[in-house]
């Protein structure tokens, strides 16, 4: 089955080429993208089943033997990430197709949307599958370059302003990553992750700490860890709703994945555990305080995104099997939920004409379906039982209590406070946007909302579009699908937690990964 491993990278790239050739034919583009992403979901699911039954699947790209060539490794962690991200990207694609069709975007500038979106998917998959530090860098670059284009889509003034910050910060993190790669290669003479396991162990401690610190810094910027997180709420909210949703779901989690991978495989022993735990609690608390201060739904959600990255770091920093497993579970939960919330925010923007809380009101009565689509994932995010957010946080807090250290207790407290403040922030959105009496400026029914929207009350680049339904079925359906997926995470939480525990154990043992890449022992 190893021939399946490169497919999540190859298929979207080929699809991107094909959609680029079909520039003038949006209908054909849509079908190509849908087919490719559906196939990616299927392949990823197969990879997950195969890797949990038979151990990590390894492919030597181009037939070059492991330490010389590049390897792609699909172990349980990578496969699990692949499945979730592929499912999420597929839903967001359907949502954006629905939005594009309703707005009548048949031609430019959105004709580059499909190729870029597929390249982004390829980059994310490449980063998850990479068994080589430099290939990981290339994966990051692929997804970042695609994200630059998606973020500045239409190049309106706001997006250019936001894009500038985003591009410069991302470039800086890439440079730091590249420096780290140069140093690792100079110190060890290899970049193959499995080979690095042995070679890094023989290095002096202080040198290892420098390498680890450089990599952590680079990944920390990408994962939006406080104090490296200020770029995120500035840049994400200005992008189109589906773009923000897929960024929020995936891009920061690729950074978290890279942190998990390097902290367990390359630098075990938790020398930076204290650092991780301290940044985790700061990320959680500072992030959520930022969210409380916001008066715009998209910005508020961006801050909760930062805040909840702290939970994942918490699990990684504990370095215990339970902590790591809960962190992996939390990543899966958070990818789904955060994407759903941003999609729902996009629907709120269409229905209410804005995402500013002081201009919204009464949406629960005006559009009950929309209220449900927002309310369920919002409670899930805050960690209300029995949702998966509660289970993930429960696992983390359990792991923190098991650890028993003073810092772990501080984190447990921080985690609980953050959870409560998330509930407060979410409840504020609910009260202001959904419950209070409708604002005088708000469109009274769906037709009025549509009329207000097409008159150019929204962003200028949307005006002149053909009029359609304000909440088209193709936008509701994928949001609903993600809400249901989020609920399904609760239902299958048992097996999923077993899976993440297996993945965490494999990560901590390190040998399954190394043995899979070098069946005859590392050279």
């Amino acid at each position: 089955m190893t021939y399946l491993v490169p497919l999540p990278v190859v298929m979207p790239l080929l699809g991107a080429a094909l959609t680029l050739l079909l520039l003038g034919r949006p209908q054909a583009q849509r079908w190509v993208s849908l087919t490719v992403l559906t196939a990616t979901v299927a392949v990823s699911a197969t990879l997950l089943v195969q890797s949990s039954l038979h151990g990590p699947l390894v492919v030597e790209v181009g037939g070059w033997v492991a330490p010389l060539g590049i390897v792609l490794v699909a172990d349980q962690l990578a496969a699990l990430m692949l499945v979730v991200s592929a499912a999420v990207t597929l839903c967001v694609l359907v949502y954006s197709i629905g939005q594009g069709m309703a707005d009548g975007h048949e031609e430019t500038p959105l004709s580059v949307y499909h190729p870029t979106y597929l390249v982004l998917t390829a980059g994310v998959c490449n980063a998850f599958l990479s068994g080589d530090l430099f290939n990981l860098y290339v994966g990051f670059e692929i997804l970042l370059v695609a994200s630059y284009v998606l973020l500045t889509l239409g190049s309106t003034e706001n997006r250019i302003r936001a894009g500038t910050t985003y591009v410069v910060v991302s470039l800086l993190s890439s440079v730091i990553f590249l420096i780290a790669i140069g140093l690792v290669y100079a110190a060890t003479g290899t970049l193959n992750l499995a080979q690095l396991v042995d070679r890094l162990d023989t290095l002096p401690d202080d040198l290892r700490l420098v390498l680890q610190g450089m990599l952590l810094l680079a990944f920390g910027i990408k994962a939006a860890v406080f104090p490296l997180s200020a770029w995120l709420p500035d840049s994400y909210p200005t992008a189109p709703a589906p773009v923000t949703a897929v960024f929020a779901g995936l891009l920061t989690k690729v950074g978290v994945y890279a942190i998990i991978r390097t902290e367990t495989l390359l630098f075990p022993g938790g020398r930076t555990a204290t650092l991780l735990l301290v940044t985790a609690v700061l990320t959680m608390v500072v992030g959520i305080l930022g969210a409380v201060a916001q008066s715009d739904i998209k910005r508020l959600l961006s801050f909760t995104l930062i805040s909840h990255i702290g939970y994942m770091l918490f699990g990684v920093g504990l370095t215990s099997s339970l902590g790591l497993s809960a962190a992996i579970f939390y990543v899966v939960h958070h990818i789904t939920i955060q994407t759903t919330l941003f999609l729902a925010a996009g629907l709120v923007e269409r229905r209410g004409g804005s995402t500013a809380l002081d201009r919204l009101g009464g949406l629960a009565r005006l559009s009950p379906l929309l209220a449900v689509l927002f309310f369920v994932p919002a409670l899930n995010l805050a960690g209300i039982p029995p949702f998966s957010g509660f289970l993930g946080k429960f696992g983390l807090i359990q792991a923190g209590v098991d650890d028993g250290g003073a810092l772990a207790w501080i984190l447990v407290a921080g985690g609980l406070v953050t959870s409560l403040l998330t509930l407060y922030a979410i409840a504020r959105v609910w009260n202001l946007a959904f419950w209070r009496t409708p604002h005088a400026d708000m469109p009274a029914d769906d037709d009025a909302a549509e009329a207000a929207r097409t008159e150019g009350a929204m962003e200028p680049d949307r005006s002149g579009g053909r009029s359609g339904a304000v909440l088209p079925g193709l936008m509701i359906a994928p949001t609903l699908a993600l809400v249901v997926l989020g609920l399904a995470l609760t239902v299958v939480a048992g097996p999923l937690f077993d899976l993440s525990t297996d993945a965490a154990d494999d990560l901590l043992r390190r040998t399954p990964y190394v043995d899979a890449v070098f069946p005859g022992g590392a050279p």
């Binding site: 706001n158 790669i181 290669y185 104090p227 500035d234 909210p237 930022g290 409380v292 504020r428």
Partner: protein, 156 residues
């Protein structure tokens, strides 16, 4: 393996100059900074490998070959830097097209919430907002309007 001192000094100078330019507000200077940084890091990658003759079997003895892998990595990094340069140029041009300048601007929403906090009317307080904003190096405690801050940035 001992790295070549000249290389190390050149890498240091390039990176230092790159970082200095990156801290500027004008996007064109930021672009220059990115290019310098990229070149500095490429040289660093090169320093990481062994120097020697061309790594082609038949022309050089295996012991005297240079390490080809850093060179392959540099090639990839150069291509990526080239693409990024093109994109940043387009961004700077578009910014100039829209605003008549290519300065990196403050976040409008940040500033709005800051102003609310200063007048103590908003949902936030100066403490929380200032705390989350510390990382991006903007003069957030400063109530001046956006345009003035941009001017100050240019002058500084």
């Amino acid at each position: 393996m001992t790295p070549n001192l000249t290389y190390v000094i050149v890498v240091g100078v390039l990176v230092a100059a790159g970082v200095t330019l990156l801290l500027e507000r004008s996007l064109t200077r930021v672009l220059m900074g990115v290019i310098l940084l990229g070149n500095g890091v490429n040289l660093l990658l090169l320093t990481g490998g062994r120097a020697g003759g061309a790594p082609i079997v038949g022309t050089t003895e295996p012991e005297q070959m240079s390490d080809p892998l850093p060179q392959a990595m540099i090639l990839t990094a150069i291509v990526i830097t080239l693409g990024m340069t093109a994109f940043l140029l387009a961004l700077a041009y578009r910014s100039w097209h829209l605003n008549g300048h290519d300065e990196v601007q403050d976040d409008v929403e940040d500033r709005r919430i800051m102003d609310l906090a200063i007048r103590d009317e908003g949902p936030g307080t100066a403490d929380t907002e200032g705390g989350t904003d510390d990382g991006d190096g903007e003069p957030t405690g400063d109530p001046r309007p956006v345009a003035n801050v941009v001017e100050a940035g240019r002058a500084g």
